[in-house]
Amino acid sequence: MEKVKKKILVVDDDERHLIATQEVLTNEGYEVFTYSWWLGVTNFVRRLQPDLILLDINMPALSGTGLSSLLLSNSGTKNIPIVFYSSNDEDSLRKTVSEYGARGYISKGNIYELKRKVAYYLDNNIQ
């Protein structure tokens, strides 16, 4: 029987990051979904129930931090682990993680760190 693939949702307004991240993670055997616009994203998350959300921070209209707060306060989405995925500097990311209750962060630009950390957060989905 084929193993059920873990679902990862990547939310980012930069199409290039979405495409590249999707390819990297698909090659790792995950089922990767992307979303590039804030409108309707909470409904999408509720329907999809991904195993992990990679959330960009600097997005127009609704920032990743705002979206994170929204998802964590919604009963249908609050248990889905959120990891910030951003080009911000690590000091600021560390602060943002603790401030907004995300599971952690992944700095963009390092394909190996992306793979390793995604695997880590999926394997350590402790509530």
Binding site: D14, R16, I19, A20, K108, G109, N110, I111
Partner: protein, 419 residues
């Protein structure tokens, strides 16, 4: 409260009225009755003040029943305060006021005698006048404090904007670099797998990231140079009409396959001006590339006209438009608006800031009018430094709407003229 050090009591002298101490009381009273505004007279012997006569005290005494009869002929020194408040001319106003008000209640508002370094009589100062002056000083201090506070807030705001700018630059520089790094890894994998399709796809992503990075670096460097005052204006003689048409053609290319026409409305013939052509072109390119990004259908119009002693160049579009509330954010660095920003309309968020700065550098101004959902017009006014080149139009009137020609650049890059 800290006082205005510039105000000393000597500066407030308004009267140097004085009389010898043995003058008859009647004569002094007469002096008061003749001068309605005279409140007090100092009694001075030699040059030394030895007493003070105040209007209300003297007249009150004399006008009582038998007052004139009893006291009129007496020397004034017998009827007056022989221990008046005497203050050195350089005493601070607040100290002088304190001393004045420390007196007995009935004397508290008597004038004060001012003396010089040799204790010689200089003049009189009224308490009322001192209090008015003190109030003015306090008001000035409050105004100065408010001004300092406003300045501090302004500096804090500037500091915050600077930090925000650095944070934005840091993020926006990292973002395309991160794309390039990840895509380079993907290209590596493609090459290992001999995946030609993957190579093509990822190369296109790589180029997009690199182009974005180059634009951002160029813009940041331009802006830094302008803000550091290192940008030089190198004036040359050039034909603004030809430049406008060239910019129109570039705009048409930027529009791509969208159904948007580009119209260039300009004089039918060259107009030579003296300005910096590289910078004028950069302004126009920044404005038209914005128009190209945010216009999905309709047209973009570049037009040239004269307004007084200025050359007026407008870039109008039928694009997204800007909400009134957002108009003042437009020229701030990295201020892409939420409803305009998407990766399809990717920009550095610095184009308009740079355009505005260059316009100012050239001695001009830029204004915007926009209606959300309808379109936007940027109008740049530059001073006309028209050259006297042969055959060139030489006055503002010459750049009016006479002999106007409209060039329309269509979707298929055909061009035709409308007379």
């Amino acid at each position: 409260m800290e006082q205005d050090n510039a105000v000393t009591i000597g500066k407030l002298i308004i009267s140097n009225e004085c009389m010898p101490p043995y003058t008859e009381a009647n004569i002094v009273a007469d002096r008061f009755l003749k001068s309605a505004h005279l409140d007090a007279v100092a009694l001075v012997e030699g040059r030394e003040p030895i007493g003070l006569v105040t209007r209300h005290k003297l007249l009150f005494k004399l006008f009582k029943r038998y007052g004139f009869e009893l006291y009129g002929k007496k020397p004034i020194i017998a009827l007056t305060d022989t221990e008046p408040l005497i203050i050195h001319k350089d005493e601070r106003l607040d100290v002088a006021i304190d001393k004045a008000l420390e007196r007995q209640a009935q004397d508290a508002y008597d004038d004060i005698i001012i003396v010089d370094d040799n204790d010689c009589y200089k003049g009189l100062v009224s308490v009322k006048q001192m209090i008015i002056q003190q109030s003015n000083s306090l008001a000035n201090i409050i105004i100065q404090k408010e001004m300092i506070s406003a300045k501090v807030n302004e500096l804090k705001k500037a500091e915050l904007m600077k930090s925000q700018f650095v944070a934005n630059v840091t993020h926006d520089l990292r973002s395309p670099v991160n794309v390039i790094t990840v895509v380079a890894e993907l290209l590596n994998l493609d090459s290992e797998r001999n995946d030609i399709e993957g190579l093509k796809r990822h190369l296109s992503l790589l180029m997009s990231g690199a182009t974005n990075l180059r634009a951002l670096i160029n813009n940041i460097l331009d802006l830094s140079k302008i803000e550091a005052g290192k940008t030089e204006v190198l004036n040359e003689n050039f034909d603004i009409v030809t430049m406008l048409r060239e910019v129109g053609e570039t705009t048409r290319i930027l529009i791509g396959n969208k159904s948007v026409d580009v119209e260039v409305i300009a004089h039918d013939g060259p107009i030579f001006i003296d300005s910096d052509p590289v910078k004028v072109k950069q302004i126009l390119t920044n404005l038209t590339s914005n128009a190209a990004k945010f216009t999905e259908k309709g047209k973009i119009v570049l037009s040239l006209a004269a307004e007084g002693n200025n050359l007026s160049i407008s870039v109008s579009d039928t694009g997204t438009g800007i909400k009134e509330i957002d108009l003042n954010k437009l020229f701030q660095p990295f201020s892409q608006l939420d409803y305009t920003k998407s990766k399809k309309n990717e920009g550095t968020g610095l184009g308009l800031t740079i355009a505005e700065n260059i316009v100012k550098l050239l001695g001009g101004s830029i204004r915007i009018s926009s209606k959300f959902g309808v379109g936007t017009t940027f109008t740049v006014q530059l001073p006309i430094n028209q050259s006297d080149k042969t055959n060139a139009k030489t006055s503002a009137e010459a750049i009016s709407l006479h002999d106007i020609k409209t060039i329309v650049l269509t979707e298929h890059e055909e061009s035709y003229g409308k007379g």
